[in-house]
Amino acid sequence: MIRIKGLQELFKRYRRPGDIVFAWVFVVLSVFLLTQLDTQAPWNPKAKTFSQPAFWPTVAVISMTAFSAFHLLSSFLSTRLDGRWKEVWAWVRSVEYSGWFMAYVYLVPLLGYLPMTMAFAVLLGLRAGYRSVKVLGTLIILSVVIVLVFKGFLQVKIPGAAVYEYLPTAMRSFFLTYL
């Protein structure tokens, strides 16, 4: 009993709500990758151990499995805090903004960097709860500045939008190059 208590002390650590959920997910991922080692990183019998293409993936997956198992064990042995599923819900909520980001990524090459940046700045502002003209106006100004600095001035590689092809010839090349 004393020995078990000692083990508990050794592995005990500070944790936050939801820690064990993440620990389980990581263990499952690691074990899954471990089962895939033979097919995804096959050992070449002719090559030396340290020159094996599979050497580092094997080291990484085995280490992941071992460390994640200990992490899970320490999560079990540490004081549990309330709010596990509330925390998981907070993780899920962040996926919404991942969706916003991907929509922005998808629409820029079609409808244009400047129009989409302005539109998303305002839409995200409204989604974030801002209703004042001052804040929304600030967001529009910021989006224009971002486009001018990065595409206009620094010339980062963002392709011209498909919709710009319909612009009059005089404006088209300006829009394709700078906006």
Binding site: W56, S63, F101, A128, V156
Partner: protein, 507 residues
């Protein structure tokens, strides 16, 4: 001396001067806004710097890295919210001073301590350069492999109370590096027959996801905050000379910052806590620590600001980044075909000196800027957090999409953004993933290239530096086991493993 003069000559270019100004002033503003931080800014700006000459791009990124902590001290003192994660300890004594009505004094001490930390570390670097130039060529493949291995071990063990999490995340980083086509035999590794996995995970995409997008998602999905800061009346210039009264604490803390900065995987947090503990133990008024002690504030700020310059040592001399920000800078070197490592010290010492001098100039620029702009900055730090989140999200797009115009890259970054949110909310470290990716790559290449000369395991450590590095690895592991045994015998009454707010280096 020739290299120093030649390095100074390299800096006399309008592009570099502009990059220094933009980097240093931008870095202060970025550091001052809670929730942004140097890592987010560097991750976003990284692809934009690829089109600039190497010294210009690096100067700008160095400017942000070196100056963000100055700015981060301001909200730490005035709002009790650190601008960057490494200013967390500054809140312990800075904010109580503000509550006592000594905001101006606290800000002046924070600026002057940061300045002293920055300058001492650069002087140490310039003084150490001849030694580094002499030692660096002695590092062959075996030594660099062992140094990278030491870095990985240190980054895992430095996360006390989270060693297992840091270990699994570092291993995950190594795995991420191996995904895709292996460069020598073109073997597919963990591609699951998916063509989009064949080219592997790009470091910058992962960095942008973990640091920038995650911060945007986090700020947008949390309740909006409108920080309210105390304004400072009068000039902070008069307070600068007070640091002289605490010169011992400032000098020793800067020394700790330099030493810890040089060790891969350790960085600002360890330097700060060692300095803070030292300052408290040697203080005549230890009971004031945590309640508004000027010495505590100085120890924290001098130590964290001494780290950036010192962190450039393993990066420049060996090509081994010690934390996430230098790992990002490594990619700028590679893009411009400037390979950091022993060769750089042998052949391009003027380039190295130019970087050091740029750091020196930026510390002066930042101090001057802060002396005249503190009250304007107090308005900047009051920007609502969700507004900051929107701007980070829009800027992250530039960073990821401009790399290869790939929607797949953006999707990968987005997934890592969600992973970053989870890790940040759980207070688990992000840095081991990045260092796992970078150091994993270095270890794979260097171990393979050292194999032709290694017939028996002892050949791996038959050279003096390799032997020293191996002994250091054993020592570090041995010390960790000793600490575990001590803690097992005398468990801490109230273990505070929250001390490493491990998004460190992170923000």
């Amino acid at each position: 001396m020739d290299a120093l003069v030649s390095g100074a000559g390299l800096l006399l270019d309008w592009q570099i001067i502009l990059a220094l100004l933009v980097g240093s002033i931008g870095g202060v503003i970025i550091g001052a806004i809670p929730g942004v931080g140097a890592a987010v800014a560097i991750a976003i700006l990284l692809p934009a710097t690829f089109s600039l000459p190497p010294l210009v791009g690096l100067t700008m990124l160095l400017g942000i890295y070196g100056s963000s902590m100055y700015g981060g001290a301001l909200p730490a003192v005035l709002l009790n919210t650190p601008g960057t994660a490494v200013n967390a300890l500054t809140t312990y004594d800075g904010y109580p001073m503000t509550q006592r009505g000594e905001a101006k004094r606290a800000v002046a001490l924070a600026y002057s301590a940061s300045f002293v930390g920055g300058i001492i570390s650069i002087i140490a670097l310039i003084a150490l350069s001849p030694l580094l130039a002499a030692v660096a060529p002695l590092f062959g493949s075996r030594e660099i492999f062992l140094a990278a291995l030491l870095g990985i071990i240190l980054v895992v063990l430095a996360h006390r109370g989270q060693t297992f999490a840091a270990g699994m995340l570092a291993a995950f980083g190594i795995l991420l590096h191996t995904v895709g086509l292996e460069p020598v035999n073109y073997t597919r590794r963990f591609t699951f027959d998916q063509s989009w996995l064949t080219s592997g995970f790009d470091l910058i995409v992962v960095v942008l996801g973990l640091f920038a997008l995650s911060q945007a998602f986090l700020l947008l999905s949390q309740p909006d905050e409108h920080p309210k800061a105390t304004t400072i009346s009068g000039s902070v210039f008069s307070g600068l000379k007070e640091l002289w009264l605490y010169k011992r604490v400032a000098a020793v803390s800067s020394g700790f910052g330099v030493m810890m900065g040089m060790v891969p995987g350790v960085g600002e947090f360890t330097a700060q806590f060692i300095s803070y503990t030292y300052a408290q133990k040697t203080s005549k008024t230890p009971e004031l620590f945590g309640k508004g002690s000027p010495e505590g504030l100085i120890a924290s700020e001098a130590a964290n600001n001494a780290v950036p310059a010192a962190a450039m040592i393993p990066l420049l001399a060996l090509g081994i980044p010690g934390e996430a920000l230098t790992a990002m800078m490594l990619s700028v070197f590679y893009v411009h075909n400037v390979i950091p490592g022993p060769q750089l010290f042998q052949n391009q010492m003027d380039f190295v000196m130019a970087l050091y001098l740029a750091l020196l100039v930026l510390n002066v620029l930042v101090l001057i800027f802060l002396l005249f702009s503190t009250n304007i900055l107090t308005r900047v730090i009051q920007v609502p957090t969700r507004l900051v989140g929107i701007v980070i999200l829009l800027l992250s797009f530039v960073g990821v999409y401009s790399l290869r115009n790939s929607i797949t890259d953006c999707a990968i970054a987005s997934v890592f953004g969600v992973l970053g949110v989870i890790l940040k909310r759980l207070n688990l470290p992000l840095v081991p993933i990045i260092l796992g990716m970078v150091l994993g790559g270095i270890m794979e290449v260097k171990l393979r290239s050292s194999m032709p000369r290694v017939k028996t395991p002892m050949d791996m450590i038959d050279r003096p530096i390799a032997m020293i590095l191996f002994a250091l690895i054993l020592l570090v592991i041995g010390l960790h086991i000793r600490t575990l045994i001590r803690e097992y015998r005398n468990p801490p009454v109230n273990p505070d493993t929250d001390i490493h707010d491990t998004q460190g280096g992170g923000q």
